[in-house]
């Protein structure tokens, strides 16, 4: 393994890869800062394009967007009280109050430093945990893998937005969408509705981009059409400008003592974010709010929370960003994406001919080691760029999304066609986008649908192989201690989180 490290170093630090990471960070911060757009949306739109890049450069671009988008969301949260991404909603509580009290720069810098600390720590956890877990996963047979798929589906269904039944329904729908096409074992056609073009099944890119990006674009476009989003930003801008009247920039610099005073909150956020990020479906928003609540409980200045506390900003932002590395652990170790972002990274791997799972690190050691290095130095690039460009970024957050939305739509359509060179993919993209809109409107979580769609072929293969080995006896699925352990842990976690979330309500 160590002999792969030197080539990985060359790969990660090649000028081309560094350039793509830097472009990605700038794009991520820009899109994350504009309410209505997000880093995830940018990753989804650019997925077809990574097909045409070298793996390290493509992963560098996506990593840069991801890191930049994580921090970018906090810029509009602090500057206007409008979270750029769902994960930065907790940052807005104290961040915007800090802005109203006349120290936006301190709040933005606190968010930046805590975000980078949380993100980097989480990346190290990913690097040191992924390999041992992958070694364990290599010993798994079909019974254990089916248990693992069921574990992930149950957990993501239960934890996403806390709506278990709707999550389970979405996972089932995702599985059904994945069943369209040929049966992987017998070869017979399923659920094609007599359309011969569907015999190859639904491609991953149009389904992912449609469900995640196009559906969000449609909702944002309709808001722009109703001029609601513009009015929110106009109001926020007017309030921001009126507040700048007696603003003294010289008094708004984060001192080292202030930075040090936020460290406890930052580490609480980092720990909680890393732990919660590793759970399928829990998400950055939940991590940020739990971190914020815990930091408040353990703070000496708990009364300051909600009134512009820098500790509140640090805890929320560290909690949000610390999910970024750990959310990739299930993908690297078991091939199961535990979040929307992980699903997008998984799709990128598949597009580049790399199958996510325990063999990924062994079969593509150099590229994966290069990605680990990129994950770390992308944080540094984010830190340096954001430190110097914060004033510019705050202005970027004022760009009205209606200018960019049509361009992003066109990119989604052309990119999807480019990836598969198929008109059917474009139709699937638009249909998936429309389906995503309807599901969002009726509060169905989308992450279980995507996870169901991605893991269904593997889960079906594992189930059918298990039952073939067990000669049709369903009890064979409980023949392994690991499988029993996974089912038990899933049940305990679902119960615990359901009770915790019910108490929070």
């Amino acid at each position: 393994m160590l002999e792969s490290f030197i080539p990985a170093l060359y790969l990660a630090f090649s000028p081309e890869v560094i350039m793509f990471v830097a472009i990605g960070v700038l794009m991520g911060v820009t899109l994350g800062a504009i309410p209505g757009l997000s880093g995830d949306m940018a990753i989804a739109i650019l997925l077809p394009i990574v097909f045409f890049l070298e793996p390290a450069a493509a992963l560098g671009l996506l990593t840069g967007i991801y890191k930049g988008g994580m921090f970018g969301g906090s810029i509009s949260a602090i500057s206007f009280g409008v979270p750029g991404t769902p994960g930065s909603a907790a940052t807005a509580i104290d961040g915007y109050q800090a802005k109203l009290k006349g120290y936006p720069n301190k709040a933005l810098n606190t968010a930046l430093y805590s975000s980078v600390i949380g993100d980097t720590s989480s990346d190290f956890v990913l690097i040191f945990l992924a390999l041992p877990l992958a070694i364990v996963a290599l010993t798994f047979g079909p019974v254990e893998f089916f248990a693992l798929y069921a574990f992930s589906l149950l957990l993501i269904s239960a934890l996403t937005k806390g709506k278990v039944a709707k999550g389970v329904a979405m996972a089932a729908l995702g599985i059904l969408l994945a069943m369209i096409g040929r049966d992987p074992i017998g070869g017979s056609l399923r659920l094609t509705f007599g359309i011969p073009e569907l015999s190859g099944g639904l491609a991953l890119i149009p389904v992912l981009v449609g469900i995640f990006a196009v559906s969000e674009l449609i909702i944002q476009l309709s808001k722009a059409w109703m001029e609601r989003a513009n009015r929110i930003m106009d109001d926020a801008r007017q309030r921001a400008e009126s507040l700048l009247g007696d603003y003294d920039a010289s008094k708004d610099k984060l001192s080292f003592a202030e930075f040090r005073s936020t460290m406890k909150a930052t580490w609480i956020g980092t720990t909680m974010g890393t732990l919660i990020g590793a759970l399928p479906g829990a998400g950055s928003s939940l991590a940020a709010f739990i971190s914020y609540g815990l930091a408040q409980r353990f703070s000496r200045n708990r009364d300051e929370f909600g009134k512009g506390s820098l500790e509140g900003v640090a805890a929320a932002e560290a909690g949000n960003s610390a999910t970024s590395g750990s959310t990739l652990i299930p993908l690297f170790a078991f091939g199961i994406p535990g979040s929307a972002t992980a699903a997008l990274f998984g799709a990128a791997f598949i597009l580049m001919g790399m199958t996510p799972g325990p063999r990924l690190i062994y079969d593509h050691t150099e590229v994966i080691y290069a990605l680990f290095l990129i994950l770390i130095y992308a944080n540094l690039i984010n830190l340096v760029f954001s430190h110097f460009l914060l004033p510019v970024y705050s202005k970027i957050a004022m760009i009205q999304s209606r200018i960019l939305l049509p361009i992003v739509c066109v990119l989604a359509i052309l990119g999807t066609f480019a990836a598969g060179n198929s008109v059917i993919d474009v139709y699937v993209l638009l249909f998936a986008g429309f389906l995503g809109v309807v599901l969002r409107m009726y509060n169905f979580p989308l992450a279980p649908l995507i996870l169901g769609f991605i893991v269904a072929p593997g889960a079906e293969r594992a189930l059918r192989q298990s039952l073939l080995i067990g000669r049709g006896d369903w009890m064979h699925l409980l023949s392994s201690p690991i499988a029993i352990g996974l089912y038990t842990v899933a049940a305990i976690m679902i119960l615990t989180f359901t009770l915790v979330l019910r108490d929070k309500k």
Partner: protein, 160 residues
């Protein structure tokens, strides 16, 4: 006691979402029983979809039961506007793709982007930098990216 509860149920959104989920599952199961499914090795190709349909019915039933006890999401706001935008985007997307085959990438994309910007902007001529200049520049960048840089085989039209 149950009658007012049931009347309230009919006003709750999740009663209908649960019903739709159960209906989709039931239709799927009927298709497996009476449809043209071929047998296959082991459990056969219908086993996993069958499992998904049963799960969908159970989830739908739970959603409906929860709605009976008052746990239901609100009816969506602006549903008509958002669904109309969705239908509009699907139509524009398909139209743009058809137009690319007739007129070429550059002309089709610039027409689509300028059209969308005019629709989304109040007094679009007054804001001409964002409604005309940005779409033209964006089209140039998209054309360079797809045609020159990554050389994507897009349908060819009359112009570039």
């Amino acid at each position: 006691m149950l009658k007012p509860q049931f009347n309230k149920l009919l006003t709750r959104q999740d009663f209908y979402t649960g019903l739709v989920a159960m209906s989709v599952g039931a239709v799927g199961l009927l298709d497996i029983v009476y449809g043209n499914w071929r047998p296959g090795p082991g459990l056969g190709p219908h086993a996993f979809p069958q499992l998904a349909y049963v799960t969908l019915i159970c989830a739908g039933a739970v959603i409906m039961i929860e709605a009976l006890f008052g746990k239901s999401d609100e009816f969506p706001e602006n549903l008509r506007a958002i669904v109309s935008t969705g239908i509009g985007l699907v139509a524009v997307g398909m139209g743009m793709f058809w137009l690319i085959g007739k007129l070429g990438l550059g002309v089709s994309v610039v027409i689509t982007l300028i059209g969308a910007s005019f629709l989304l902007t109040r007094d679009p001529l007054k804001h001409w930098p964002s409604t005309i200049v940005v779409p033209v520049v964006a089209t140039a960048v998209i054309w360079l990216l797809f045609v020159k840089l990554i050389n994507v085989p897009l349908p060819r039209g009359m112009f570039f």
